[in-house]
């Protein structure tokens, strides 16, 4: 179950990142951008589910391990930040999608860039947390 949730968590985050990149790179208005925006926002909300299930059911054991290892900051700073930044991503993606749907594609790119940067940073943070459990 843990592995399935982890794969779902990573794949959904990757999907949001890919959608953000496609929209950022779009030069002209197109129906594709609108559909992708809706998809990006919906997927970002859905991605909270596997992330939450992992965090609530499987992370406590990892947390104990990290706090007893050499990198307690991997939990105290990195994971604490990650678990809350993750809540902001769907909110930002919804704003970005709303801008696209209201004809403000150009303005939406700034928000999609924020979504992309946060997803990438959250991914890096996830790797640091994993390393913290092994440190």
């Amino acid at each position: 179950m843990r592995d399935e949730l982890l794969y779902a968590h990573i794949l959904l985050a990757l999907a949001v990142a890919v959608i953000a990149v496609i929209i950022i790179r779009q030069k002209n208005k197109s129906p594709l951008t609108k559909n992708l925006s809706i998809l990006g926002a919906v997927v970002s909300w859905i991605s909270v589910l596997p992330a939450g299930l992992l965090y609530l059911n499987f992370y406590p054991a990892t947390k104990t391990l990290i706090l007893s290892n050499a990198w307690p900051w991997a939990h105290e700073v990195i994971m604490e930040t990650k678990e809350h930044w993750g809540l902001l991503v769907p909110v930002f993606a919804t704003v970005a999608a709303w801008l696209v749907l209201t004809g403000k594609e150009k303005e939406s790119k700034k928000w999609w860039t924020l979504v992309l940067v946060m997803v990438v940073l959250i991914g890096i943070f996830g790797r640091l947390v994993k390393l913290g459990a092994l440190a």
Partner: protein, 94 residues
Amino acid sequence: MKLKFNFFAGVTASSLLLTLMVIVAELYAPFKDILKAVFGHHWIGKVVIMAIVFFAVSYLYRDKKFSEKNAWYSAIISVSVILLFYIVNYMVSA
């Protein structure tokens, strides 16, 4: 189709509220305990409250003018303050 939401208002309210909840929950244990008691876990409490505030404020302020600039700065401030808070909190408690 005219969308009946103003997500600039929603993102401003919800991102700043999340930042506030993060700080208060860390510094004032009874608040974290209340979230745990009501929602089962403090993180679930923050998700639920933030999502409700995001959509409720976006809907309630649907006809009000709300600047994109304020929404953007609220988002950036929230992201930055959450990270900085945990860095400082770790350094103080280490």
